[in-house]
């Protein structure tokens, strides 16, 4: 049985044209008169064209592609965003914007949060359904990551939105928490909280704006910085922001 010299791996490498891993000349010589080897090789053949063709039917939705905050709009995105940020600075209502433009990377945590949120679609939170106990346990763990103790009732008390989940993310090695809500029509809105880096920071009043085209509210209590972002209902985000700020979440 001459074909025993060749392992399946070698034969597959031969079929794949990976000549570095197959004794091509020897295999081809053996194939001339070795019926068993031919049979083994046939058993390993597959229709690669059909395989590649089959994956063509798997395409991301236009919504998923459009949600990418980069690329096609990249050439104009940065200047537009910069203009937006310049406007924020001009309004002098942002929090810590001075340190943003000097010490920190231009892609500060707010931009990170906005880019993250821009990737969310209506479907992102659809499948998430947790019991109050699960939500409470999760919230306790998540809020502790930024040194807070947020009660589930504070989040479920908000009108017009349903609290869905909490996650710990990270920004430049610092924990950042995201508390996600969904409107009745499924629009995701996130409250993101990070500890202020500047120990001398004081309270900053809430400012509203559009970031990545999403309704946003930002404020600081001096200890933590907050961003509420999602959807295009400026009024809803403003009301939610005011409610969250007033309950000193």
């Amino acid at each position: 049985m001459q074909d025993r010299r060749f392992s399946d791996e070698e034969l597959v490498a031969y079929l794949d044209g990976e000549s570095e891993f197959a004794a091509v000349d020897q295999i081809e010589a053996a194939l001339q008169d070795d019926a068993a080897l031919n049979k083994r090789l046939d058993a390993l053949r597959i229709d690669l064209g059909a395989l590649q063709d089959s994956f063509e039917i798997l395409q991301p939705s236009q919504e998923a592609i459009a949600a990418l905050p980069v690329g096609a709009k990249a050439p104009v995105k940065r200047p537009v965003f910069a203009v937006g940020m310049a406007a924020c600075i001009a309004l002098a209502v942002g929090f810590g914007l001075g340190s943003w433009s000097t010490n920190q990377s231009p892609s500060g945590w707010v931009e990170y949060v906005a880019a993250y949120q821009a990737l969310y679609t209506h479907a992102t939170l659809d499948h998430i359904s947790q019991s109050p106990e699960q939500l409470r346990e999760e919230l306790g763990r998540v809020s502790a990551a930024v040194g807070k103790d947020i009660a589930l009732e504070q989040l479920t008390a908000l009108p017009d939105v349903e609290y869905k989940r909490g996650q710990v993310l990270s920004f430049e090695g610092r924990p950042l928490i995201q508390l996600a809500f969904a409107t009745p029509s499924g629009v995701p809105i996130a409250l993101c909280i990070i500890r202020s880096e500047d120990v001398a920071k004081t309270e900053e009043a809430m400012a509203t704006m559009r970031l990545e085209g999403l309704s946003s509210a930002v404020w600081s209590d001096g200890v933590h910085d907050y961003v509420l972002i999602g959807g295009k209902e400026d009024g809803l985000v403003r009301r939610m922001g005011q409610a969250l700020q007033s309950m000193q979440i």
Binding site: L15, R45, D47
Partner: protein, 178 residues
Amino acid sequence: MLSRWRKQSAEEEVEAGLPEVFPRIWRYAFSLTGSRDGADDLAQAACLRAMEQASKFRSGTHLDRWLFRITHNLWISEIRKERVRKKGGMPMVDAADIPDPKQDPERDYDRQEVLKSVLDLPEAQRVTVFLVYIEGYSYKAAAEILDIPLATVMSRLATARANLGRKFRDQKDVSRAR
């Protein structure tokens, strides 16, 4: 502010290249998660991770391979673990998520069957088949993306080919096989 961004060429390269690679990353994410929702979540998480770590990308190297590696690592290190924890095991591929036949029902039916055959493979074989046979990566590149030895790539492909060969022959002739 803008001048500082211009200096970050690696980050710009990642951002500029992401949209082109995204559909491929999404298909890979589908192969890993077995559903459209799962693919959306994983592909988007991978893009975010790539943006976060863009400064680590070595300008001029293969962005696609870097993104596949990030997607794979994210799946292994976080998302798969979380799924197993929450759902008590890995989900099977949701056939309902494979698009329905449209223009050419017969051809699309064949394509769905072939696709399902691949998606039904065990994960280790499935990802290797995807990278080598769908994406066309060399054994060496696939081994680097998956962070496994070359011999493992070879043994996975040999096993996968034997499995697929059996299934394909059940479904149709192998006139185009190689």
